[in-house]
Subunit: 788 residues, 2 copies
Amino acid sequence: MTIKSHMKGDVAMNEVRNNILVDEWRIIEKEFDLENNVKNETIFAIANGYIGMRGTFEEGLDKKYSIEGNYINGFYEIHDIKYGEKAYAFPEIGQTMLNVFNPKVIKIKVDDEEFNMMNADILEYERILDLREAVLKRRVVWRTKSGKELEINFERLASFTIKNSAAIRVKIKPINFDGKINVDSLLDADVKNLTAEDDPRVGSGITGRAFEIEKKVIDENYYEIYASTKKSRLKLICSITEDVKNCIILNRKELNDDLKVGFSYEIEAEKGKEFELIKYIVYVNSREYNENDIIKNKEEIIKQVLEYGYDRLREEQIKYVKEFWNRADVEIEGDDFLQQGLRFNIFHILQSTGKDGLTNIGAKGLTGEGYEGHYFWDTEMYIIPLFTYTMPFIARKLLEYRYNTLDKARERAREMSHKNGALYAWRTINGEECSAYFLASTAQYHINADIAYAIKRYYEATDDVDFILNYGAEILFETARIFVDLGHYVEGKGFCLDGVTGPDEYTAMVNNNAYTNIMAKEHLSFAYEIAKMLKDKYIEKYEALKQKINLNDNELDEWIRAADNMYIPYDEKLKIHPQDDTFLNKKIWDFENTPKDKYPLLLHYHPLVIYRHQVCKQADWVLALFLHSEKFSKEQKKRDYDYYERVTTHDSSLSPCIFSIVACDIGYKDKAYDYFMRTARMDLDDHHGNTKDGIHAANMAGSWMGIVFGFGGFRVYKEKIKFNPIIPDKWKKYSFRVNCKGRLIKVEVEKNLVRLSLLEGEDIKVDVYDNPIILSKNKDVEVIKVQM
Amino acid sequence: MTIKSHMKGDVAMNEVRNNILVDEWRIIEKEFDLENNVKNETIFAIANGYIGMRGTFEEGLDKKYSIEGNYINGFYEIHDIKYGEKAYAFPEIGQTMLNVFNPKVIKIKVDDEEFNMMNADILEYERILDLREAVLKRRVVWRTKSGKELEINFERLASFTIKNSAAIRVKIKPINFDGKINVDSLLDADVKNLTAEDDPRVGSGITGRAFEIEKKVIDENYYEIYASTKKSRLKLICSITEDVKNCIILNRKELNDDLKVGFSYEIEAEKGKEFELIKYIVYVNSREYNENDIIKNKEEIIKQVLEYGYDRLREEQIKYVKEFWNRADVEIEGDDFLQQGLRFNIFHILQSTGKDGLTNIGAKGLTGEGYEGHYFWDTEMYIIPLFTYTMPFIARKLLEYRYNTLDKARERAREMSHKNGALYAWRTINGEECSAYFLASTAQYHINADIAYAIKRYYEATDDVDFILNYGAEILFETARIFVDLGHYVEGKGFCLDGVTGPDEYTAMVNNNAYTNIMAKEHLSFAYEIAKMLKDKYIEKYEALKQKINLNDNELDEWIRAADNMYIPYDEKLKIHPQDDTFLNKKIWDFENTPKDKYPLLLHYHPLVIYRHQVCKQADWVLALFLHSEKFSKEQKKRDYDYYERVTTHDSSLSPCIFSIVACDIGYKDKAYDYFMRTARMDLDDHHGNTKDGIHAANMAGSWMGIVFGFGGFRVYKEKIKFNPIIPDKWKKYSFRVNCKGRLIKVEVEKNLVRLSLLEGEDIKVDVYDNPIILSKNKDVEVIKVQM
């Protein structure tokens, strides 16, 4: 199957990798690549954190080459989780982000010949995701069998300004003929999630159609479907308003069958004259509005969208993204592939992240059905840092989501026999634990401390006391309680946490996972600090909170006692931190005799085989070395790093970025570069072969972290802002921006020069290579020697 | 609901517990106990190790009060095992022992009134399981609404002599009338296994009818159903031949609907004259005969059964059981409840055990659907000892079953990434692993060593070299290989086995489970010994076996090196054996604040909560203290016992008997008695509340072990046979028999006297309280002082 392509248009001819043109700000496909199209539908996905639309074609495509997907963040159906052998408190109900009604459908017909990318004679083609505009464009020139030629320009966006809305505009121009063109525009409810039969690794427990359609409406220039999910009983309304311009409509029919609704236009087209159809799409659901308000809100949103119109929506989009890039952009000189990959990653994080406090970011964003759309610790450890230091109000919204699911975490803690406190779900949409394999989920108690860590860093970066008072303290206290209940004192060791799994999922259910213990230590002492701060400064708030969660002052003493006595395993002989109490006693995996095709190990070895060896799927203690880099000497970090690097497979996409960051920290410049390069284009180049199921969001944010925390050596500890930049040999220059304590700082790094500019905010002291430097607006500071 | 009872007949009036009369040799129900009937159907089950029939009534009973069940050992249907999250080498196919066609149905009608236990006017009733006869009897006197009275005597047996056969005889006598009696006799294929809806804890993955009926036959005096299972594609034929005697048959109709086949008799009955109907039941299946031979074999079996006739079947039955009791009986003077319980237990073990080398014994015998009819390590650790020292040819057959499934164990070892060797399934029927929860199944690598241990004890007791040459050595060598591959040497410790679960299922996936390590040590050195013995004496056999399993002589050295260096954890401070590397570091379960209704813990706490505490479901290291009692001093055993007793819940029915045995060994007489008393009537008195789902076979055999190994202090180590009897204060006297090295020895223990009699075999030296004594036939030896 080949589609001819014609390299025309305004795109500068650059290098091509996997049929994607290299360009600083755009992802460009100039040749339609049918075989890679399912992957590219992920790449070209458009989303705004609420609505996500895979980069599928308006006219559709054979299922073999396409996964049609439209998702609403936080909108899910439930299903029974099956177990061969069930035990107490195993989660019984799974949640799956639903594939919702497809609003994209636009079918163009000339002389009863229907346009589509598989069979039509396509003279010109390009598909562009523009990262400065946040729109997806497609331009085709189509020649019908009878020789009629049309230029068609599709464009779509999911609005960052009005989160419930998206819009599609198609412009059609008959190049060499006058006459009739038929356009059908539809909302299609004939949608299903992938099942195990479609894909055993992705398919969820949802089979068949998840919706009951309650009502369909067609009126004037709009049509709507009202529906409820069959089991979770959530309501969804999708409303589409259409505007057809610059043409004579000969006829407009309503289309209304069982599962589809829309209009069919017969248009009198004129040679050389472009006409357009705009679809204004609005989704609302009962997780954001209660049932009484949902219709009213829908009406208001539609009104606002129509007031804006397409052009204003597009302008607002550009404005929003511009502001984002002003804070989040990363520039690389000397590697265009990398430049493209990094911006692509950062952009997809912005697209995928829920920003309303009710939703979060799935492991695959809103781009595919992998991991059933679930939220994980990835949010706190990989995504939030990006927002904390660029657009902290989004970081706050992600943390508010945790607050909004705190009751579910309390319920889960009771199920897990904790007398008080809250234990967050390992994977979830609505806050309830959805994981069916507790060794790599419920056992990962570190999620509580990960959330606390993100709060701490957010608070240090923003001084957002309001957040602490209204949300943060309650989360911190409730989650801290779990560690006190979980742990116990062991003579000669200290406070021990047994029966947990750390981040490394190739080791499970151990005592004293070093990562978990150090994170819990930090968590408990931060909770104690915050409690003291409240007591000192906000005694009324503190008393109210104490009463609300039935907190006893003695508990605070328990927190700090546990923190002070937390046992962090250390091997005196090897002078390294063992991953847990028994890790170093296990047999080292026989890497030498493991053929390449046996990776990732989890697909080729029973968990027991993996668990009984020294082998890590991902950074575990090495992640702690990053998160707590101030606590260890460089020599210590090197010994730990050297040890764990030898036994880590990086079978998790969360791993290489962390190894890159720590390599920067300890001066392993080549390793830092190599690991970093595995992250930057992981999805663009489909390194893991499963980008079709959605982006690897954590890795994407990890590549941003690799620049900022890794090469840039950026850290914020309490009052200190530190930079320790290094630059890989292959780059001429790179730059990044960070927003911290109300300042926006730009950092440019060249071979022998670091330039810091304060773009926003008051003068501030920062440390560069541990030397204090004062930054002022309009006064760049240059440091001459880039150290290594 | 009450049924009047009339205490008549030949049964001596004794004490009653749970409506079961206490009697030395019989289980007697004199009042029909509707509420406890489902449990009693298990109690009154009849089986011969091949056919098992729950003690249901021929005429049927409301499903609410009855679980109709007829089982063929080893005959199963398969189903997909569901996982919320599946991983590599998780078993995908489950097996369930099928509820097969019900051959029992006999419906008796007078004047269109049908006899049944719920609505009929029952003047007299008794149900008796006679342990000396191995038949189940039921006698009722029924008065019809019109005042007609009938005495009905049912009797059924499953033949120990012709394993494929069972028989039912019903004798009917009109007491006060002449006239017509209708009798329908059927084979009913309208059968299903329990589903999760019937009982979530018992229901298997089999839903709906598992059979496709291929053929039904009615001819002369017999009827048959030929069927195949839908998924496992196993064939089953059930054939019933009928004989009606001592009456005039007015009419005989064939009954043949979709799922039922049989005869309907109209009989001219005469007052005071008893007539009888006999059903000769034969089952054959394609797991024992290949498809070409199955019909021929069925015919031959039927021929033999009919040649025997009912009376001879019954005589043979009595003869067989008499011989069994001659070897296996245990007598208690001073506690009739206990006497009854013990014989009941021993009898059920005989009934439940497959004796053909193709089948084994399910955890619930052939009496119910609990655990899906699966075979576990229970066989080697609990059941085989009983047979090894009573009827060793049955022990051999159980071990031959392991040989016959060795290929499946080899396949499983490959799935578990072992380069050679065989790993037995934790739960199975056909040898394939069926467990869906690997932490408490596949991780229990000790099953390999348990089988080796049973072989060693069997071989020491019987000197059965033939077994070793043809079966045992190959099993031993293949299973030994797994431990060498599993383990590794750790400096300062020795040979370590990581990532296993021991017998205690409240602790999972640990390093160096002490039980597993000591069992593996014994296993490896025994395999080495046997290999040397073969090399010395049977070099040709040895060479052939080496070639067959591709064994290298170096491997033998690895076995003995691993055995010699096996690490057995020991805590120098507490001077006890820790259950594993980390057990003693865990928090001790808060028993004090655990209410009674939270036991068994597994039904009230998530596994993670249980696993992270020091708490044992059952004997783990304490079992090792029994199995290896010669290796430890009494003081050591006491310290270990004291420690583990404090943290053991005995939530497993496999636990109390072991604690009793070890208590005997170390002189804890009261504890020994208390634990023993929890075992003896566990099913008769339904201690666990789930006897309805089947007997607790391991516990039943455990109560025999409690007498023989516990109070009797019987052990066989190589050439030594030892007795160290003690007697509980409450008993006047007890006695037991053991068969060992070709001798049958009877041991009687009174308060101050031990009497040993050699009933069969040549003179032999035994140790009583470590004093050597020579036993000769016809010359009892008395030892005056019973020590404690």
